[in-house]
């Protein structure tokens, strides 16, 4: 697609429930990133995929959080047993890594999913 697409745009769930957030990156982008943004703060890194594999998942806060990218395109962020502290805007971004290696190119962000746990 023309840009990074995230669905749903808003999600309200009850404490303890399971949620899935979807990210559809820019076509051809090999790298995909998930971030979480709380009110008044900058986005906080969660996980980064290069292709199908998670190259860096050091930002996932605990084992309730998991993300997949099975075909190297669409990614799903999964949160089990949601807690009120998980309420935030979840942002996805994508970029391209040249075949020759080196730094990833400019990253573009989706509009985010606002998750509210009640």
């Amino acid at each position: 697609g023309a840009g990074v697409s995230q669905t749903p745009s808003n999600k309200v769930t009850e404490k303890g429930k399971y949620v899935e957030l979807r990210c559809d990156p820019i076509s051809g982008h090999t790298a995909l990133y998930w971030y979480r943004q709380s009110l008044g703060q900058g986005p906080e890194f969660l996980i980064y995929f290069q292709g199908t594999g998670a190259a860096d998942d050091s930002g996932l806060p605990n084992d309730r959080f998991f993300a997949v990218r099975p075909e190297g395109s669409v990614s799903t962020l999964k949160i089990q047993r949601t807690e009120r502290g998980d309420s935030a805007v979840y942002l996805c971004a994508s970029s391209f890594r040249p075949p020759s290696g080196g730094a990833n190119t400019e990253a573009f962000f989706g509009q985010g999913t606002r998750l509210t746990v009640v």
Binding site: A31, Y33, Y35, Q37, Q41, G42, P43, E44, F45, Y48, Q50, A55, D56, S58, G59, V89, L91, A93, R97, G102, A103, N104, T105, E106, A107, F108, F109, Q111, G112, R114
Partner: protein, 110 residues
Amino acid sequence: GIQVEQSPPDLILQEGANSTLRCNFSDSVNNLQWFHQNPWGQLINLFYIPSGTKQNGRLSATTVATERYSLLYISSSQTTDSGVYFCAVVPNTNAGKSTFGDGTTLTVKP
């Protein structure tokens, strides 16, 4: 990990004024981007500038990688420039992990 500091945290301008936003970082980087987050939360790309100087209309940016800082210049500010400006860096030691600063909140008054 790498530390990113943005200053000032808040800035209030009269329409038509100029401003400079600063981003300091604690380690060598291979990627630096400036974003504008609009009131609806969308992060808008302003500059991809790991080094050097770029200009786009009323906005320009300079990154001095050897001294570990970047500057974003806004000239002849407009009310639509209001919002939060973020700097995000990727350290040389990690090809993918971007670290954001806490942002500068800009308010432009008519």
